[in-house]
Symmetry: C2
Subunit: 330 residues, 2 copies
Amino acid sequence: MSDTPNLASAGGKIMLVGLGPGSHDHLTARARAAIAEADTIIGYVTYIRLVADLLEGKEVIRKSMTEELDRAIEAFERARQGKKVALISSGDAGVYGMAGPTFEVLFQAGWTPDSGVEVEIIPGASALNTCAALVGAPLTHDFCAISLSDLLTPWPTIARRLDAVAYSDFVVALYNPKSGRRTGQIVEARRLFLRHRRPDTPVAIVKSAYRPRQRIEFTTLDKMTDCDIGMLSTVLIGNSNTFIQHGLMVTPRGYRNKYDVESGATHHGEQAGRSLSTGLTGWRAGLHASGRSAAELAAEHRLPEDYIAALLAEPLDATQASDEANEVEA
Amino acid sequence: MSDTPNLASAGGKIMLVGLGPGSHDHLTARARAAIAEADTIIGYVTYIRLVADLLEGKEVIRKSMTEELDRAIEAFERARQGKKVALISSGDAGVYGMAGPTFEVLFQAGWTPDSGVEVEIIPGASALNTCAALVGAPLTHDFCAISLSDLLTPWPTIARRLDAVAYSDFVVALYNPKSGRRTGQIVEARRLFLRHRRPDTPVAIVKSAYRPRQRIEFTTLDKMTDCDIGMLSTVLIGNSNTFIQHGLMVTPRGYRNKYDVESGATHHGEQAGRSLSTGLTGWRAGLHASGRSAAELAAEHRLPEDYIAALLAEPLDATQASDEANEVEA
């Protein structure tokens, strides 16, 4: 007998379970089965409470919010003893969830996929999906998630991302926007966004989505810092096309760029099922035909000059030829 | 009797159902119940096939890929007749899914939430969540989703976003990366990324996640255009810290910025549960103490000079005082 961990003997398993918003209705079948299969459940106290009625007869280990590494270490210890351990996260275990710290701890301990402890990640809807579903359809175009928590990330990294996505007109979901101690980050996010976006850009603040204390507030970029925002809030900032109508926040997908939405007919020069006339091929052809300099075109399209110069330096023929070939096939 | 649509008479319902990856294991209880409750199911033929065994006795309307507006129009027509209609999308109905075009069509037709046709959005795990779960833990830090389809979005808009998030070091999920006809967009995405990112940046290409033909390929930014990429693929590009080890793609959350991952002890000058010393408050104090110009600091931190100048122009006292007050409370 020995206290030395024996990686080969185990047969244990770590299941990283994304609960979705937390109501049982929005659990996947696999998430529910994983919890049923587990000998041990480890999670932040609030997440444990969400599935309390599914835990009878199981070992339950409640951890505080900042003990992610401890949760992973305890999960691995038990899995090495042959236990099946469910590490639960609200939302998706892969999105700012337990999947990351767990692999960091496992790799550090010399774990490999063949070493007798299996790892399964069970995906779920993340906060951005569930909050979006409650407010309308804000994420129908390109979007990003940024955590405002500077507990593990230097502020310049966060600020650089806020600046970049404000400039390039993403829909943005802010995770961990504010806590009792961190109150300045959301103020800075607003400041960085207002350098590029209109003050009346629509914003939705969703708290405790699909839970008993759910609350949804619509506001604008300019006024969002006046709202009640906390650790259970997700802040959704629209792009330049997002609007709020009848209490719903919607980002148009872009059908109006091609179609008359009422009749379904395409606009002149556009074809259903084909790239826009301002899509890559058409736009490139336009750059070449314009006869303008890379600097002028870069300023017009707000793109790097060396990128435009590289496109102008390449002949169009290859792209055009292959597109025409495809048109004939179609 | 009249053919005029009567918005008030209905009692019908449109349910926008996100199926997740498509295997029944990963359906939420609510998604399954919504399909059971529906009289009519409308969806792209591939999605209908994913839930074919749940559709007995229901009216099923199969549409082709580009008929999103038609799907929404048909759903609304039936809901106005009092039917319960499930509009199904793979992934999340709100992420490049049917939620957007449905609201566009409804608003155009004069629908309001009080007009007798209810709309419910049922969130699911999107492709980025499910693909991430299969490859490891790539989304544990800030990430974004960009569709490379230029069927509804002008290329300069897409290019600007690619440039911005490559620069600011997001993990990126590319949706609709390539089709038989659209082959140049992924080449351009690579070109824009290589202006900012290392050629060996890890990339994962996931095809048909959780479906019988699932395939996962790991590659690098430099080589990704040589891989098999199609309409059923999602491309995940790591950030500057992402690594691939033992066949798993992991983006560290940042624990190493604060902790010794083996012992769990904090590094000198850092505190568990508190912002990093380079977090907003500490970083701002450092800017003020540096005695350097806004231009120098902007270059060092790769942030806009006017943002740094605005921070330098504000006294630190307010922020510091409130932080100290919080420390005392804690």
